[in-house]
Symmetry: C2
Subunit: 371 residues, 2 copies
């Protein structure tokens, strides 16, 4: 028997539990059967994750009497596209699943975002369970109901809000995660400290090695991150206000992902966020909002764990500042043409800054490209 | 100056007005500007409707200071598809519209369903205005927030619930509607009488010629239909209960549309619903739920206005009863494998019948194919 930490996302009739602990894959069937009696399942996964974990979850579903159909998509960000979405939707319909049956996302952020979108639109909304297999997905994308795909115009510009009925974050599966992927997810973990939990940031500075090693510290960090995210989501489910704080580091980060053509050999999402958070703190200091000590502390910690913090850390060269600014302006966190950024007054004191002058951003990007 | 009837759809923070009257296209700009100050617009329409009405609405937007981009899709049911959805989404993004800008659907049910789905998924939900130009869309599809596209597995199996911010039903535009299209929309109007408003059905029996001729009776009929739909939607926005009553005639109707390959030269949606309503009343009599007098009265009225009521009214032949049953079983109004139908105890006494035995449906279809 295993124990798991449980975090409740308080969204009234859409409230759900996040379970965090080892060996949750083996318990997936019983946890789902208890919450969704009689449901059949489609398990969306990619080839890499399927090789490691599909058999485990299939056995668990079978043992709980749940009929399951596996649907495989190609691994990688390219699967967050209209053609792959259509393939997944068709496969769910071909399996004759109904509105009260369940779509299970088994994988990282790509599989979760894509599957959640499919679950949100088949029959105008099916039940949905997230089984995130990366640290990034466990601390961020699997919680909160944002789903979507990318288009030529940018990342995550198309999707729906569709909350899962359950999130199973099996911390044991992270043992097989490549170190680079673990670090990328760690960047999103750090984010919660930088938004409004300075004591959590300090705890990570002191304990990051134990988090990377696994065990109790890792579970604590994931639980803290999920709790932080659940709090924000419960306050502002559809991002009309506070939830935008979760975009700390993401406006710069998304622009960098777009500028590198979503080429994961050059930059993965969490690395973009790491650089984006470092830039957001530097930019805040430049605007005299925060002390330079803060950005130095942030950069030092990100560098200590092996994350990039500067534009020059991205291999292969970047376009000019003008073009980067265009990517930022096309990003969805633009309101009525004004540039909106998450800036900070110090560690754990982030805030939503509207009407940031484009000229300031441009000058800052020009300087940043030289560093 | 024109006057319009206003019906409020009571959905709390998602509540909105339906305006019904002549010359509303000319007022579109001012009505939108009053409710969504500062918004820019994308107008989704098809070639047929564009030729008749696009210039009018564009001028109206311009006069109200609203910047508008027209996006044209091919006319016809085939546009409710993933490829056309992707085209529309890309065009909205290319116009750089943001979350608080507005997507305007100018057209019939196809344009409305497609545009509403696009508005529901671009940036996870943009504002949306319906300007329905067919009777069918004015009394049914433009109200209630159901959006979607078709797939090889059936009609409307993919979509979202996304309520408009405003519906402008210009009854004058119906003057240019082909008679067959007007009759098809009339079938959905009759539906509200058959569901739970027997006095409205009796009024239509007495006044249908005036409704077809235009003027006051037409506006009254459209307003009654919208009020009936608004009441149901306000009670059950996401179709977890009562809203299924709106599917009266649709389970048979959708199966017939699928069986004729969505070929509008053979059968349009409203005609499928007319036959479906006649069949639902006949089937109810066969199951001894209602008197044969009722189905005879329903069929007599539908025939009087020129609508089909029998399977043999569909040109070009149909597949066998087995295959029709398969189409019914794949329809989305299936719950856990049991067949759900809207049946009736008489005019205006429809109810949701769950667990209808497939064998009864099959035998009924076999007999109906002989008539």
């Amino acid at each position: 028997m295993t124990t798991a930490r449980t975090i409740r996302v308080g969204l009234e009739e859409r409230a759900y539990d996040i379970l965090i602990g080892r060996n949750l894959l083996e318990r997936a069937g019983q946890e789902i059967a208890a919450r969704m009696p009689g449901a059949r399942a489609a398990i969306i996964t990619d080839a890499n994750v399927a090789a490691l974990h599909l058999a485990t979850i299939e056995e668990s579903l079978k043992a709980a009497g749940i009929q399951g159909t596996a649907i495989r998509v190609p691994a990688g960000e390219q699967s967050k596209s209209f053609p792959v979405l259509e393939t997944v939707v068709d496969a769910i319909l071909a399996a004759r699943l109904e509105r009260r049956d369940v779509v299970i996302a088994l994988g990282g952020g790509v599989v979760g975002d894509l599957s959640g979108f499919a679950a949100g639109i088949v029959r105008r909304g099916m039940d949905f369970v997230q089984v995130p297999t990366t640290l990034l997905a466990q601390v961020d994308s699997s919680v909160g109901g944002k789903t979507g795909i990318n288009t030529a115009h940018g990342k995550n510009l198309v999707g729906v809000f569709h909350q899962p009925k359950l999130v199973l974050a099996d911390t044991g599966v992270l043992d097989t995660l490549p170190p680079r992927e673990f670090r990328a997810g760690y960047a999103e973990t750090v984010k919660y400290g930088l938004i409004d939990r300075p004591e959590f940031f300090a705890w990570l500075e002191a304990n990051w090695q134990e988090v990377f090693a696994g065990g109790e510290a890792r579970e604590h960090a994931i639980a803290e991150a999920c709790r932080a995210k659940a709090d924000v989501v419960a306050r502002d489910e559809r991002e009309s206000g506070d939830r935008a704080l979760l975009n700390l580091g993401h406006t710069f980060g998304h622009a960098l992902e777009a500028a590198t053509g979503y080429d994961s050999s050059r930059l993965v999402h969490g690395e973009g966020v790491a650089i984006g958070m470092a830039l957001a703190h530097r930019f805040s200091a430049r605007l005299n909002l925060a002390s330079p000590d803060d950005y130095q502390r942030v950069e030092a910690h990100l560098r200590a764990v092996g994350l990039p913090t500067k534009l020059s850390d991205i291999p292969g060269g970047l376009p000019g500042a003008d073009r980067l600014l265009e990517y930022i302006a096309q990003d969805k966190k633009v309101s009525r043409g004004a540039l909106t950024f998450i800036l900070t007054r110090g560690i754990g004191q982030s805030f939503i800054a509207k009407d940031v002058p484009a000229s300031e951003v441009l000058a800052f990007l020009e300087d940043s490209l030289k560093q």
